[in-house]
Amino acid sequence: MHDKVNGSDIGVVLVEPLSMVRVGLGIWLSEEPGITVDAQAASADEALQKIAAMRRRTSGVVLVSLGLDGPNDAYWLIRSLRERFPTFVVLAIGANAEASSISRALFVGADGYVDKRVEPEEFLEGIRKAARGDLVVIGPPITMLGRLPGEIDRHSETAGVLTEREREVLATAADGETTKQIAERLGVRQRTVTTHLTHIYSKLGVNGRLAAVRAASKSGLIARVAHE
């Protein structure tokens, strides 16, 4: 059935923890001409694994349910997708989401929001528009667009905070370890450590390891370094 992946086919990856919703949405989307469901996932980790494993397609539309929670929640996934798979369009999907949730989704990099409560044709049109490169907010009244920027300040504060992993890397770096030693300690590749450090410097607005450690321990992002 998936053999004819023609150019105009939109590949969708569906990430939804509620099984019945995922199954139902998956079936319905599969039946829609012009849409192919490339993968389905019930969690953020599963979604990233499946997308990474996709060979046939390197772009498409990822539908991320705002219902994904836990440490790797919807916002974590949206941000990860934007960093790791920038060729994919990411849409947050929700049910009557608040302005603050939609705003946060857009802030961490979503290309739009589609409410699950709209009519099927509107939902599909949202996916198609997003696939063409437009930012979409489908479901809420148009005046919602005007409320979203007002919520941004709240998210900016959390944007400066490092992820779990980044904190680990930086805390290990604070012990004076070389990149190689950090990699060994954390069980990852050196290149991964370098990438984390690049993100950390960018988030903290610094140029090097020492400055990063200082900045992070000063704002309590990592435990205070003893010899400071």
């Binding site: 437009d134 930012l135 979409v136 907010v137 148009i142 667009l145 005007g146 920027p149 960018s202």
Partner: protein, 216 residues
Amino acid sequence: MTGGPSAIVRVVIADDHPMVREIVASACADHPGLDLVAQASTGAGAIAICRAHAPDVLVLDLALPDMSGFDVARLVKEENPLTKVLVLSARDDAEAVFETLRVQADGYLDKTSDVDTITAAIESVASGNEIYSDEHRRLATGKLRAVFDLARTALSERELEALSMIAEGLTTRQMATRMDLSEDSIESHIKGLYRKLGVRSRTQATARARELGIPI
């Protein structure tokens, strides 16, 4: 709209052009369901009238002589949450449409709209609909994207100021004077902002500033 479906829609027009006020007045006169309660030719007048009369619909010109139409809309909406605001504008750019949405106006009409269009729009917003065209939506979502892209750069106030000046074409020395900082300090801000934007030159920074919709 209070009362049942046959209740009269009470309208206020705020526009400094007598012709436009006349058009809205005749629209209301010809239509049994619309009642023009008062007219204003200034923003202050519009606010005072809305305070006194709490109309169902305020038809508001964005280009008033004494204050920004956006501020009028925002204030009226705050003081009279039930009043619908229908904006009349000669502008059709993304900034105007987006700002209209920011102040939560219920509709956006071109100033040159004819009587029938205006009448229909007044009735429509009074019933709770929003009057924005597909093109307006397209402009607004484009602007929204730029707003979030800018927020994501996490540029500080200073860096934003510096970027705006770079886009203006100021030299480091001129920027130092304007911002009352040393040239070294300016260079440092510039380095920081280049890194955050992922650019390497003033030309690239200027292009990026434009994409992000930074006012120059």
